[in-house]
Symmetry: C3
Amino acid sequence: MKNLSDKDKSNDGATPLLQRGAGGEVRIGIINVSDRASKGIYEDLPGKAIVSTLNEYIMGDWEQEYAIVPDEQHLIEQMMIEMADIKNCCLIITSGGTGPALRDVTPEATEAVCTKMLPGFGEQMRRESLKYVSTAILSRQTAGIRNETLIVNLPGKPKAIRQCLDAVFPAIPYCIDLLNGPFIECRSEVIQIFRPA
Amino acid sequence: MKNLSDKDKSNDGATPLLQRGAGGEVRIGIINVSDRASKGIYEDLPGKAIVSTLNEYIMGDWEQEYAIVPDEQHLIEQMMIEMADIKNCCLIITSGGTGPALRDVTPEATEAVCTKMLPGFGEQMRRESLKYVSTAILSRQTAGIRNETLIVNLPGKPKAIRQCLDAVFPAIPYCIDLLNGPFIECRSEVIQIFRPA
Amino acid sequence: MKNLSDKDKSNDGATPLLQRGAGGEVRIGIINVSDRASKGIYEDLPGKAIVSTLNEYIMGDWEQEYAIVPDEQHLIEQMMIEMADIKNCCLIITSGGTGPALRDVTPEATEAVCTKMLPGFGEQMRRESLKYVSTAILSRQTAGIRNETLIVNLPGKPKAIRQCLDAVFPAIPYCIDLLNGPFIECRSEVIQIFRPA
C-alpha cells in the first residue's frame, strides 16, 4: 500500500474488505440506466462505450460487472449496493438518467447509497460538456463514495460519455488508492492519470 | 410533442396537466424577493429587468404572473407553489435574496419546494458573474424543478440579472420541452438557444 | 456600519452580538484538522501557512484563535461552534480533512454547524487547483455561514492553501461586512479584495 497522506487508513473493522488493496483485482461495475434499453427496445450503446473506453485506458486485466436497469430509483440503488458491497467493485460507472425529466433519477439513487459526495466531478463534467452544448447545465451528474467504492454518473449519449470520462478519469485511480482499492495503471498515451507525489 | 430522448414521458396520472405541452400557452412567473420593494420603499427594477429581457428573447406571446414578496421563506415558497401548481407556469424566475446575509433565503425556499435540483445553473451564473466581480462566489443562486416547472434564481441587481439570464437562458427552452411544457421559440439575433438533435 | 444593499440587517434579538460590527476587533479562528498533527507526529505546517498568509493580506491588527484537532467530526464541530459562538470569530479557516478518504470529515462537520452553505467557494477553489493537479476534483472543500461567522475549508498542503486563499479571499471581507462583522482592510499590493459600490 502506498503512503496515503496525512490520514489513518486503518479500517477499524467497520467494513469487511474482501481482497481489496494494491494487490487485489480491478473489478468495475457498469450500469446502463435506461427504460428502453432495459426492455430491449434500444441497443445498449452507452454500456459498450464505457467498456471500450476503459479497455483503452487501463493497462492489464480488469473484470466487469454489468447491468442494464430501468429508470427506477430503488432498482438503481439495489444494483449499486450489490456491485459495491457484494461484488466488491472499486468503481461503479453509470450512464443515463441524469437529466431534468421526471424519470431521470440516477443522481438521486447515487446520493441515497453514498456516504460522501464529490461535487467536483459534476462540476468538471458540466464544464467539459459546455464546450459542446449549452444544455450541459441541465445535467445533474454527480459522483460519490459508498464506503470504499467510487460511483460516477455519466450521461447517456456515447459521444458525451467519452468526453466526460476523459475529463474525470485522470483523478480516478488516485481516488481508488485513497479508498484502499487496487492500484490501477493506465496507458499514458491514451489518458494522463495523476497521482500526487 | 417532440421525441424526448431515451425516456418514457408518460405522466402516470401523478400530476394533473392543465393545458401543458407543445400547444399550450407560455406562462412565466416572476417573483421579486425584496423586503424594501415589497414595502414600496424601492422601485421594482429587478422585476422590470426580467420582463423586458424576456420580451427581447421570446418570439410570440407569453403571459406573466407577477409578484413582489418580502425576504420570508414561507411567503416565497407559497408564491412559488401557487405559480407552479395553480397558475401552471412552466418557468418561474426569482430575483434577489441569494446572498449570504441573514435574511437572504430565496435558495432555501427554492430547494424546499423543488423535487429536483439543477446545480449547473448556479455554477454557470457564478462563473459568468466572476468575470465582473470577485464577490460572485458569495452568490447562492440555484435552480430546480417542481414537478413540471423550472425555477431559476437570479441576483437582485438589474445589470447582473441580464448577465445571468444571457448565461443560462440558452438551455431553458429545451429544459421546458423535457418537462412537457410549451415550445418556446426565441429570437436568434438576441439569444442563441440550443435544442439537441 | 455600511449600507448593506436591499436588506434589513437588524438582528431581531435572535443572536447576541458581542462587540461585532465595523468598530469591533478582527478575530479569526484557524483549525488544522489532522490526526497526525494533533498527536504531534507532524509539524503543523498548514496552520502556520494560514497565519503567515493572513498576516500578509490584512492591514492592522487581528487576533487568532488556534486549534489542532484530529479527524473526528464531533471534535471539529465542537471547535467550530466554540470559535463562532463563544470566541466570536468573524471567520474560521480550516485546513485538511477534505478528501475522499474514510477519515476525511471536515466538510461534513462544516455543513453540520452551518445555517447556510456557499457552494461558490468550493467551485472556485477546485477550479483554481485544477490548474495544477487533475486530482483537484477529489476535493470536497466547501464554505458556509454559522449565524454571523463565515467558515471556509482549505486543503492540507501549504502550497495548495496559498493557491486557494488567493482565489477566494478577495470576496471574504465583503462577506463579513454582510454578516455584521468587523471592517477588514487589506494590502492591495498583496491581495485585491472587492466591495461592490
